[in-house]
C-alpha cells in the first residue's frame, strides 16, 4: 500500500513541477519547420515570430543569430514552411512578419486581417536547376529544353535536345526524375515565371506558387526537401535555390540567358541580373530573364512582408530595428551565403519605406 502512495505522490510532484517550470521556455526560441509559436507580448523583452520562404531561410537564421547577440532583449524566430504558409500566417496574424518570394495574389488580399501590408526586399538569389546524373559535371540547359523536361515531354537524359547543348558530356539513357515543391512556394513562382517568360511558348503549365505538375514527378517539402530528392535519386532534376544547392553539394546547370550565353548561377551573376530590374512603387519586381551578358536568367528575390500599422508599439520598434539591420549590415553577409545583396538604389528605397511602419 505504502509503495503505491509513494509512487502516486512522486508522479503528482513531477506533474506539478513540469507545469510550473519553463514559463519563459515557451516564448520565442529558434524554431524550425512547422509550428512557429505565437510570441506573447511582454513588458520587458520583445519577441517576434516569422514564417515563410525557405529561399531566404538560411539568411534569416544567420541574421537572427547575430541580431540577437547585439540586442539581447529581442527574441526572433523564423519558422520556414514555404512562402504560401508565410503569407497565410501573416494574413491570419499568427506571426509578426512573413518571408515570401512572391506577392499576395489578388484574390487572397481580402483574407488579410491586419490592414495594409508593406513589402521589403531583403535578398536576391539564384534558383539553380540541380541534377544528379553520372557523366555530366556541368550541363548547359536552354529554357525551352527546361520547360519540356519539367512538363514531362522530355523523359530521358540522352534526349537530342539536351545532347545538342552538351556535345562534350556523355549522357546516359536513364529516365529523368523531376522533383518539385509540394508546398506553396515562392521559389516555384520564380522558376515558373521564368519558364513562362523565356521558353518561347514551350511551357504549358502556367506560373504560380503551386502548379499542376505531371503525376509521375516527386514532391519535396521546402528547398531542402527538393535538394534531398535530387541528391539521393539517380537521374533526378529539380529547382533549388543556390544557397541550399551548394550546402547539399549538388551539381547545377548553366542556363542560357536572354543574350544567348550559358551562365553559371553565382552571387555575381545574380547581382548582374539585379541591375536592370524595374521596381514598382510597392517595391515589388521580377528579376527573371534579365538582360545583360553576365546576368543569370533564373534570378529570384525574397521579401519580408509586414503590416504598416503595428498594434504593439514595442513590437513595431523592434521590427524596424531588425529590418534596418537586414537592409544594412546584414547585406554584407549575403555573398558568403551564396545570395546577392540588393542594388544600392533598391536598398535606399527600402530603407525609406521603413518610415511607413507606424
Amino acid at each position: 500500500m505504502k509503495t503505491w502512495i509513494a509512487i502516486l505522490a512522486s508522479s503528482t510532484a513531477l506533474f506539478a513541477a513540469s507545469c510550473k517550470k519553463g514559463d519563459d521556455a515557451g516564448n520565442a526560441k529558434m524554431t524550425e519547420g512547422k509550428g512557429a509559436a505565437k510570441a506573447e507580448p511582454t513588458t520587458g523583452p520583445v519577441s517576434l515570430s516569422a514564417s515563410g520562404s525557405t529561399f531566404q531561410k538560411a539568411f534569416q537564421e544567420v541574421a537572427m543569430d547575430s541580431f540577437m547577440k547585439s540586442h539581447p532583449d529581442i527574441k526572433l524566430t523564423y519558422g520556414g514552411g514555404g512562402s504560401g504558409k508565410g503569407r497565410q500566417d501573416l494574413a491570419d496574424m499568427v506571426v509578426d512578419f512573413a518571408g515570401s518570394d512572391s506577392k499576395f495574389k489578388d484574390e487572397d488580399k481580402a483574407k488579410i486581417k491586419g490592414g495594409d501590408i508593406l513589402y521589403f526586399p531583403v535578398v536576391l538569389g539564384a534558383v539553380t536547376v540541380s541534377y544528379n546524373v553520372d557523366g555530366a559535371d556541368k550541363l548547359n540547359l536552354s529554357p525551352d529544353t527546361l520547360a519540356k523536361i519539367f512538363q514531362g515531354d522530355i523523359t530521358k537524359w540522352n534526349d537530342p535536345a539536351i545532347v545538342a547543348d552538351n556535345k562534350d558530356a556523355k549522357l546516359p539513357a536513364d529516365a529523368i526524375v523531376v522533383a518539385h515543391r509540394a508546398d506553396g512556394s515562392g521559389t516555384t513562382d520564380i522558376f515558373t515565371k521564368y519558364l513562362d517568360a523565356a521558353s518561347g511558348g514551350a511551357w504549358k503549365l502556367k506560373s504560380g506558387s503551386t502548379v499542376d505538375w505531371p503525376k509521375n514527378t516527386q514532391a519535396g517539402q521546402g528547398n531542402g526537401g527538393v535538394a534531398q530528392i535530387v541528391s539521393s535519386t539517380k537521374g533526378a532534376i529539380g529547382y533549388v535555390d543556390l544557397s541550399d544547392a551548394k550546402a547539399a553539394k549538388l551539381h547545377y546547370a548553366n542556363i542560357k540567358n536572354k543574350n544567348g550565353k550559358f551562365i553559371e548561377p553565382t552571387s555575381e551573376s545574380t547581382s548582374a541580373a539585379g541591375e536592370g530590374i524595374d521596381v514598382k512603387d510597392d517595391l515589388t519586381f521580377s528579376a527573371v530573364d534579365a538582360k545583360g551578358d553576365a546576368a543569370y536568367p533564373i534570378a529570384g528575390q525574397s521579401w519580408i512582408i509586414v503590416y504598416a500599422k503595428q498594434a504593439d508599439p514595442k513590437k513595431g520598434a523592434a521590427l524596424k530595428q531588425y529590418l534596418t539591420y537586414l537592409l544594412g549590415d546584414a547585406q554584407k553577409d549575403l555573398p558568403g551565403l551564396d545570395f546577392a545583396p540588393l542594388p544600392k538604389s533598391l536598398q535606399d528605397k527600402a530603407v525609406a519605406q521603413l518610415a511607413k511602419i507606424q
Binding site: G81, G84, V177, A182, S209, N216, A219, Q221, S232, T233
Partner: protein, 289 residues
C-alpha cells in the same frame, strides 16, 4: 491480517471505489475508440461535403484547385503493403520453420532474440537508413518502400507463425516420420496443413501493420500522386501524405488529410478484425484436436 477487523463500511467504500476505478479504466478503451471515430469523422466532414464520394474515386489531389481525390493514396497504401507482405511472408515462414523444426536447441534462443531485435528497432531508424542508404541506389518507389515495410513486419509474422506452428501435435509429426517422410515432407504433411489458418491470420496482421506504417513510407515512397502498376515507379500512401503535407496544409486540406486518416483507420481495423478472427479460429481448432 488476523484477528477480527471490522471491514464493513470503510473497507466496503474503498473496495467499491477501487472496483469503480477499474471499470473506468477499462471503459476508457471504449471511450477513446468511440471518440476517435466521432471526432475524426466530424473533422473530415468539410472535405466530404465538398467532394462527396469523389473523395474516394478521384485521382486528382491538388490543394491549389481545392480538389482532393484519395484514390492514388489508397492504391499506394494497398500496393506497398502487398509488396511488403509478398517479400516478408516467405522469409518469415522460413525463419519460423527453421526455428521450430530445424534449429538445434542451443540455436533457438539466440534466433528468437535476433527476431526480437528486429522488432525493437524503431521504424524511423529504418526510414533513415532507407532514405540515406537505400534510396540512392534504388531510387524512391513502391518497391523501395515495400522493402523497408517488409523488414519491419517480418518479426510480427514470424513470432505469430512460430506460435501457431508449435501447436502442431507431436503425434502427427511422429506419424509422418514413422511413414518414412523426410523432415521437409513431414513439414508439408503435418505442420503446414495444421497451421494454415493461423499462418493466414499472421500474414494479414502483417498486412495491417504495413498499411499503417507512416515514417518509412513517407521517406522513400517518392511522393508522386500517381496510380502505377510498376513497382519501380514512385507513388504515395495515405499515412505518408498526411505526414508530409500536414505542416503547410490549408484548412480544407487538413480536413482532407483527416479524411485520409479516417479511411486508413477503417481499412486497418477491417484487416485486423479479419486477421484476428482467422487466428482465433485456427487456435480453437488446434486445441480441439
Amino acid at each position: 491480517m488476523t484477528g477480527k477487523p471490522d471491514l464493513r463500511g470503510k473497507g466496503q467504500l474503498a473496495d467499491k471505489a477501487f472496483g469503480g476505478l477499474a471499470v473506468g479504466a477499462a471503459a476508457l478503451v471504449l471511450l477513446i475508440l468511440a471518440l476517435i471515430a466521432v471526432t475524426m469523422t466530424n473533422r473530415a466532414r468539410p472535405v466530404l461535403g465538398h467532394m462527396g464520394l469523389d473523395f474516394f474515386t478521384s485521382s486528382t489531389w491538388s490543394e491549389h484547385d481545392n480538389i482532393f481525390g484519395a484514390l492514388p493514396f489508397i492504391w499506394g497504401t494497398v500496393y506497398t503493403a502487398v509488396i511488403a507482405v509478398t517479400l516478408a511472408v516467405p522469409v518469415s515462414l522460413g525463419v519460423a520453420l527453421f526455428i521450430t523444426q530445424i534449429a538445434p536447441v542451443w540455436l533457438k534462443r539466440p534466433l528468437v532474440y535476433l527476431i526480437d531485435l528486429l522488432a525493437v528497432v524503431p521504424s524511423v531508424v529504418f526510414g533513415l537508413w532507407g532514405v540515406l542508404m537505400l534510396a540512392p541506389h534504388l531510387n524512391r518507389s513502391f518497391l523501395t518502400a515495400g522493402i523497408i515495410l517488409a523488414i519491419m513486419i517480418v518479426p510480427i509474422i514470424t513470432s505469430l507463425a512460430r506460435e501457431v506452428i508449435e501447436t502442431t501435435a507431436q503425434a502427427d509429426k511422429e506419424a509422418a516420420y514413422a511413414l518414412g517422410a523426410t523432415r521437409w515432407e513431414m513439414i508439408m504433411a503435418a505442420v503446414i496443413p495444421h497451421s494454415k489458418g493461423g499462418l493466414v491470420g499472421a500474414v494479414m496482421l502483417g498486412l495491417g501493420r504495413a498499411m499503417g506504417e507512416t515514417i518509412a513510407a513517407a521517406l522513400v515512397i517518392g511522393s508522386s500522386a500517381q496510380i502505377a502498376l510498376s513497382p519501380f515507379k514512385s507513388g504515395d500512401s495515405m499515412p505518408a501524405v498526411i505526414a508530409n503535407q500536414w505542416g503547410e496544409a490549408s484548412d480544407l486540406q487538413k480536413s482532407a488529410l483527416i479524411g485520409l486518416a479516417v479511411t486508413l483507420f477503417v481499412m486497418t481495423i477491417v484487416v485486423n478484425l479479419i486477421a484476428n478472427r482467422i487466428v482465433q479460429r485456427s487456435m480453437q481448432k488446434s486445441r480441439g484436436a
